[in-house]
Amino acid sequence: MGEFIGKSVKRREDARFLKGMGKYTDDIKLPKMTHSAFVRSPYAHAKIENVDISEAEKADGVVAIFTGKDACGEYGVPCGWQVDFKNGETMREPKHPLLAKDKIRHLGEAVTIVIAETLEQARDAAELVEVDYEELPAVTDPKKAMEEGAPLVHDDWDSNAAFDWCIGNDRAEVEAALEKAHHVTEMEYRNQRLAPNAMEPRSYIADYDVNGDKYTLYTSTQNPHLIRLLMCAFVLGLPEHKVRIVSKDVGGGFGSKIYHYTEEALLTWAAKEIGRPVKWTSDRSEAFLTDAHGRDHVVKSRMGFDKDGKIVAHLTDEYCGMGAYLSTFAPAVPTYLHGTLFQGVYTTPLIHLNVIAPFTHTVPVDAYRGAGRPEATYLLERIISKGAQEMGMDAAEIRYKNFIPPFDGVEEAGYQTQVALQYDSGNYEAALKKGLERLGYDDFRKEQSEARKNGRLLGVGISTYIEGCGIAPSAVVGALGARAGLYEVGQVRVQPTGKVSVFTGAHSHGQGHETVFAQFVADKLGIDMADVEIEHGDTDQVAFGMGTYGSRSLAVGGSAIIKSIDKILEKGAKIAAHKLEAAEDDLEYASGKWTVKGTDKSVSFGDVALTAYVPHNYPEGLEPGLDFSSFYDPSNFTYPFGTHIAVVEVDADTGAVELQRFIAVDDVGNIMNPMIVEGQIHGGVAQGVGQALLEEVAYDEAGQMITGSYMDYAMPRADDLPMIETENTVTPCPHNPLGVKGAGEAGAIGSTPAVVNAVVDALAHLGVTDIQMPLKPQTVWKAMQN
């Protein structure tokens, strides 16, 4: 622990955010900037028979109108991850044009862009574009998409499957073990589709500068360098060194802003065509229709137990909807970010998961807070609790029986799972024990049975989750189908006056990097936080980077910065030794100065920095300057874990669920800033509770979205949540220098099954063993009546 690490330092970025002084893309106004509006399909599946722009072109202020017939339509946005069929067939990867030309494949797909002097003019002119469609039958449910005779999303193939993939032990072996099991628990449900709802909708401004043939795209993205790479190399064929991507303040992403969206490339292309900057900001209705959604798994699963409640085998089949096209991360989400977590925190000896990923006539699905791990955790934590319920065991007891014993990853080896990964370190019992103590589990059970006598329905739900973060070693993700490496870049530039600029390839869209990164940089250099500035989100400033998702910023991005700090201190020691006329080995570095051991002779960090840039009296052969950049490629994922406990009361008359307590014990490794970790957990829990109780994107049979506004899509509000009680256990990550694991998604991963388990527990005596999410009052009430 230093002066700043481990302290709840207030977030530097909040001063500007709280005053409304943040600089989001939509706040930027460029000279001669134009505005744009899209004409989007009102159908999920249709032939485009004709697009008539003649009236629109005559409208006031119109600068240009482009349709799928323009040159931009020839290209498409690529997918970033390739997951092949288990039989070896290559993943089916359709073209994803920037504007639809002949065919519409999802509601809201863009047909025409209208560019005008003002936003109002662009929108008015867009209304004058006449598009004739021939509506075609649509399929929106992933399982139905695989039925015989289902409408095809892409005519290039004879079925809707993008791939059919499996992981784990041999299926026959798992099936045989289930046959012999003492008890088999079955579940069949849908992990419903969710809309990510970042507070800031997507916003882009593209600018083309004829001087030097340079492009700048201001974009609300989570991964600026990745967008540049994809757009330059695959979509528009632009020279990468002439394209700058800027994404400074971004108001939430939750995974939905990883995706390289068609609008980003289209605007960049259009800016050159019209020779003026062009802006587009999504409105909320467009966000529902066009932002990548999350989840959408149809699941059938069986878990076998022996007579003591030990898990003997687990077999699962899932249909995971991809949407109409493959978004950047989509294939990885239900496979390598999902199937690899099927071990959970249990010693299950036999595991098999099969995933069929169909195209559907819906907006593409991509990562959403947790990306594959919430879906895995939901299944594991529900089915083990259901198993306990069916076998008359206690939900805590069955978990203790099945836990992987504690291991630190240093003295004891990491835990090799049945599903490809090796866990780094873990102590799962400790987190559960802490959670149960905080709740007062035994007392609660007494209270619950008393309440039942009075007709009150109280329930407790436990979830003991694990997740994979800090994504990850490039060699591993490459073997798993990633088309990019997943290292991170950190540059530390010590200025001549000793002030420090840090450039990170990680991207903050609410996480607080400017604060947390400055905390550990200041501590490692022994200087004041005020002397450290964190820069991110500009490809002209930051050498390279893979961006932020999968709770990777600190574990991977932070480690890259640490590597550069080590290089700074190593070079600094040479300069210090020269100045102090001492041997390097005789120096020690602490509190911002090099001291000759056992003496009071010292030289400060600032003096060394100045000497590095004014090298009049300088070590022979040493380069001037104090500026290092490092790439850090971790040796493994990190594996945060914990226990979430929910206490609910169900209204016996209406089925309404009141979440009364929520206890989150999270082990995210070493903690740099407890306040920020707590904030991340709070936000994640709110989203997880949202999925459990409220949220669902619903399409009707024709592919029309019937939850396209906040009137029908229920977001969690403050009064849906109790004060979240947070606790931590600390099991450091053994393989990164800060010992950190990641905290961004834990809340959303652990909480959902805890809440559903609690509701089922409240109704267990009525014979209820499962309820389909979201647990709306009418759904719960119906379950109570059966």
């Binding site: 009102p42 209705s285 009707d700």
Partner: protein, 149 residues
């Protein structure tokens, strides 16, 4: 979206039937209708403007009447387009003589909507439809009053 309702009109079945079959009257009593052009027997082109709460838009498209049984009922087929999305509906209307000498009009059908109309939620749309239906019958009543006056 299901559409269902009934209304009592103070006129005989034959009067009501004649009114419903008269494009001029329909143009007057249907809320928001700006133009109703007869294309052929029972086939019309309609231009209308709907403004109810958050639902505002200009609709154009076809209206047709089929399955006519004189003084008993018919089916109204609606196919309207707007920038907010399109509406396709089939509504079956039945006329029955009521005890008080009037006519019980019952209607039932289903409307399929697309685009913003669909995503804005059925709750709003069913409210809009019920408001429009009430306005329609209210105007019919006024028309009947005028005739008897």
């Amino acid at each position: 979206m299901k559409i269902k309702g009934n209304y009592k009109l103070p006129a005989s079945r034959s009067v009501v039937w004649d009114m419903v079959m008269d494009p001029e009257i329909l143009e007057r009593v249907t809320p928001g209708i700006k133009e109703l052009k007869e294309l052929s027997q029972d086939q019309y082109e309609a231009v209308s403007e709907v403004r109810v709460g958050p639902v505002k838009g200009n609709f154009t498209g076809k209206l047709s009447i089929k399955d006519k049984t004189e003084e008993e009922g018919c089916t109204l087929v609606i196919d309207q387009k707007s920038k907010m999305g399109n509406v396709v509906a089939e509504i079956v209307m039945n006329l029955a003589s009521s005890d008080e000498g009037g006519t019980d009009v019952t209607y039932t059908g289903e409307a399929k909507m697309s685009g913003t109309l669909a995503s804005m939620g059925q709750r709003i749309m069913s409210g809009v439809v019920s408001t429009l239906s009430k306005q329609f019958f209210k105007s019919m009543e006024e028309e009947i009053d005028k005739r008897s006056a």
